[in-house]
């Protein structure tokens, strides 16, 4: 059992490194909800700031520069991690999403949730109150949801929430 846990921890750590490497290249990882759940349910004492967005969503695109500013301030903190989840179409991952990330220097982990047919399952799974409007931002720590915001956040609002939990 002990051995199993060590191996598991090693896998989780290695996975972490792999992802850190991946985001340097402005990669967009296309995932189903099950994979995303694993990313959001990590017991690693980190505060996860998870933003749902899309390139076509104007308020999302407007708030991202402020999110990046906040990320810059906290990214060296090992207890902090920002993740973006694009709801663009999977076919646009390379042609639209990646160029957008490069242009706007968005260098956090970016996933594209490609699970259109099951929106009615994963939207309530993220938060029961979520109507499906974006932007929406969720805060997690050790797999526990701390807060869910279904609206645009400015830098101050985002900082305030982060400081509550960091």
């Amino acid at each position: 059992m002990k051995y199993f846990i060590i191996v598991l921890l090693a896998i989780i750590t290695l996975n972490g490194f792999a992802q850190q490497k991946a985001n340097n290249g402005y990669q967009v990882k296309i995932v189903r909800f099950e994979e995303l759940e694993k990313v959001l349910n990590k017991n690693d004492d980190k505060l996860y700031v998870v933003n749902f967005w899309a390139t076509w969503c104007r308020p999302c695109v407007l708030e991202l520069p402020e999110f990046m500013e906040v990320n810059k301030e906290h990214r060296s903190n090992q207890h902090f991690k920002m993740i973006l989840i694009s709801l663009d179409m999977a076919k646009d991952a390379k042609t639209l999403v990646r160029p957008f990330l490069i242009k706007n220097k968005i260098d956090v982990d970016v996933y594209l949730l490609d699970d259109n047919k099951r929106m009615n399952e994963w939207i309530p799974a993220i938060d029961k109150s979520w109507s499906g409007a974006i932007p929406a931002t969720v805060f997690y720590k050790n797999g526990k949801k701390l807060e869910f915001i279904e609206s645009k956040l400015n830098k101050n609002e985002l900082e305030q929430i982060i400081n509550k939990y960091l």
Binding site: W56, C57, P59, R118, M119, W130, G132
Partner: protein
């Protein structure tokens, strides 16, 4: 005196409830308000105009949103299928054109003409109607059923379960809801959620 107190108490309770309803929008079973909104032909449209309708498929939609656009043909098809069965489509653009210029009244006219809309496409000028419904995004559908002279909300949510590929839809939520109303059966799934473009208003 006791009686009056009770009446006042009940009234306060009622007032409280309406306030909550107004803030959070309609729930299934609520009676929807009628409205007077300007259509793309410059005439005003109210639900009361439709004396022979059995109900309505109210679709909050707009010009700019890719999700709304992806559903335009399906909204046209819904109206084609259900208006003659007594459930016409009423489309409403809830966005503030100051926030989203491509959703201006003039742009609505152009889009409706391009797509050949066969239903009213109304402008929620001043954004008074969508908050009453509790619409938060486009597209956002409310199926209303006429019951005792009231328009009762019977379905809230998405049109179907695949916005990006109409050929790969496995659940047609709105059709199922209206079919159930037409056959006097309970609606199996009366609320659904889906990603959409948040409604653009000055506040946020």
């Amino acid at each position: 005196m006791k009686k009056i107190g009770l009446i006042i108490f009940s009234l306060l309770l009622l007032a409280g409830q309406t306030k909550v309803a107004a803030e959070k929008g309609y729930k299934i079973g609520d009676s929807a308000t009628d409205f007077k909104l300007k259509n793309i032909d410059n005439k005003t449209v109210s639900l009361a105009n439709y004396t022979s309708a059995k109900g309505f498929i109210v679709v909050f939609t707009c010009n700019h949103c890719p999700y709304a656009k992806a559903y335009e043909d399906r909204v046209i098809a819904l109206n084609k299928k259900y208006s003659r069965l007594g459930y016409p489509v009423i489309a409403i653009n809830p966005n503030d054109p100051k926030e989203e210029p491509s959703d201006s009244f003039e742009a609505m006219k152009i889009r409706a003409k391009e797509k050949g809309f066969t239903f009213p496409y109304l402008f929620d000028d001043g954004q008074k109607i969508y908050p009453l419904f509790g619409a938060t995004k486009t597209p956002h559908v409310f199926v209303l059923n006429k019951e005792n002279g009231k328009n009762i909300v019977r379905y809230i949510g998405a049109i179907d379960n695949n916005y990006s590929n109409p050929a790969d839809v496995s659940q047609k939520y709105v059709e199922a809801a209206v079919d159930a109303l037409l056959t006097n059966k309970p609606i199996a799934q009366s609320t659904t959620v889906a990603i959409g473009c948040s409604i653009k208003s000055k506040k946020k």
